[in-house]
Symmetry: C2
Subunit: 241 residues, 2 copies
């Protein structure tokens, strides 16, 4: 993976103009690629709202299990950002005259299973989950939102394309690793497993009418980029993706 | 308790003008009584911020355990309100040049123990905890905030004296009880235990220099009123306080 990532980063440099709206220059530059693979607005919003709720629930767990008041307070700030995304998506669902519960219910089973698989065995692993799955899925949802109708797309981006404050989690993880360097290899392993599960739940969000072959070819570079961003998150912690 | 409540409600009627700022007419009318029993601003804010965080954590747990996407979405709204209180108090702490973790740390032990004792054995019990402890403690903190210096007091009230959306939880509890009326007596029992634990954690928030006797006499009517509000929350669910 790292080989493709490096190649990709090289290729992009100098070939793309900076964009005004961006979570990160790396990701937004190629946002258009998933456009016509997006599902209907109701499906997108229902799934995205439930995903954000799951990410928020994970943060709730790491706040409850945090060892100090300081860590709790910092993570509460991240939870506030995640919750704002969920609530913002719920507002968009209700704007369409649909109850939030109704819109989200079809996606609970798959996402609950994803959440169960990615819970983590202890506090550092659960922190990694919050850091990596939110990073990957927020990148992914921002790209997918580009394929909705212009009005819904813009509103969804206003909600999703905001700072999810992952730096706060990265700092807590860095402190954990510095205090106990032997956790590194275990966290690196966990990070690799997380990216697999996260890619699967992201793939499920694409329209179900994918054409194997043509569409696969278009999806691959997008996921390569999302994985590149994932690798940078791992790099930051000194972990090999 | 119910006898004192009725007496108190009777006496207050017609003797007090309505106040502009109020969580409820019943509670705010006598807010001044705890004024000089309030601790220092740093102590008040640190404890209140950690209490709000604990209440938020409880909401996180009931969201994660909620049986439907609809219940989760509704509770997420309540969590947003609770988190806003915590974050607002943290902002006030930082405004005083103190780190939030430092301000909260002295109170973690007592509040963690309170949280442990009030977790609840299942989802309906945990919902009751969110409903009753947040209701009681928000009422209490609003009164106690009146005893801070005017500037801090006003800012703290701006944060705390807002709708904590307990109606949402009450509706979910009503649905639980309607679907399974036999849970009533168990929840009533749990509610009675909760008010005891909640009163204890509230008492700990008063200045430590209490004069037994004189101060006790002044505290009692305040708690009588807080218990009256608690009884109304129980009444609403058809449960005896």
């Amino acid at each position: 993976m790292l080989g493709r990532v490096a190649w990709f980063t090289r290729r992009r440099r100098g070939t793309e103009a900076p964009k005004l709206r961006s979570r990160s220059a790396e990701v937004s530059g190629r946002r258009v690629e998933l456009d016509d693979l997006a599902p209907s607005a109701a499906e997108f919003l229902g799934r995205a709202a439930y995903l954000q709720l799951a990410l928020f629930e994970n943060l709730g767990r790491v706040i409850a299990a945090a060892p100090t008041a300081d860590a709790k307070a910092r993570l509460a700030q991240v939870a506030q950002a995640a919750l704002a995304k969920h609530r913002g998506l719920v507002a968009l669902i209700e704007r369409q005259g649909i109850a939030a519960g109704t819109a989200m219910e079809p996606f609970t089973r798959g996402i609950d299973e994803f959440q169960r698989r990615t819970t983590g065995a202890d506090w550092p692993q659960s922190l990694m989950t919050c850091y990596l799955t939110a990073g990957f899925l927020d990148d992914f949802l921002v790209r997918l939102a580009g394929g909705l109708s212009p009005e819904v797309s813009q509103r969804a981006l206003d909600v999703l394309d905001t700072d999810e404050q992952l730096d706060v989690i990265a700092e807590l993880l860095e402190a954990q690793i510095a205090a106990n360097p032997r956790t590194s290899s275990r966290l690196a392993l966990w990070g690799r497993r997380l990216v697999g599960d996260t890619m699967l739940v992201a793939r499920e969000s694409l329209t179900s009418s994918l054409d194997r072959g043509r569409d696969e070819e278009r999806i691959e570079p997008v996921f390569t980029e999302l994985i590149a961003a994932h690798s940078r998150r791992m790099d930051r912690l000194g972990l090999t993706a």
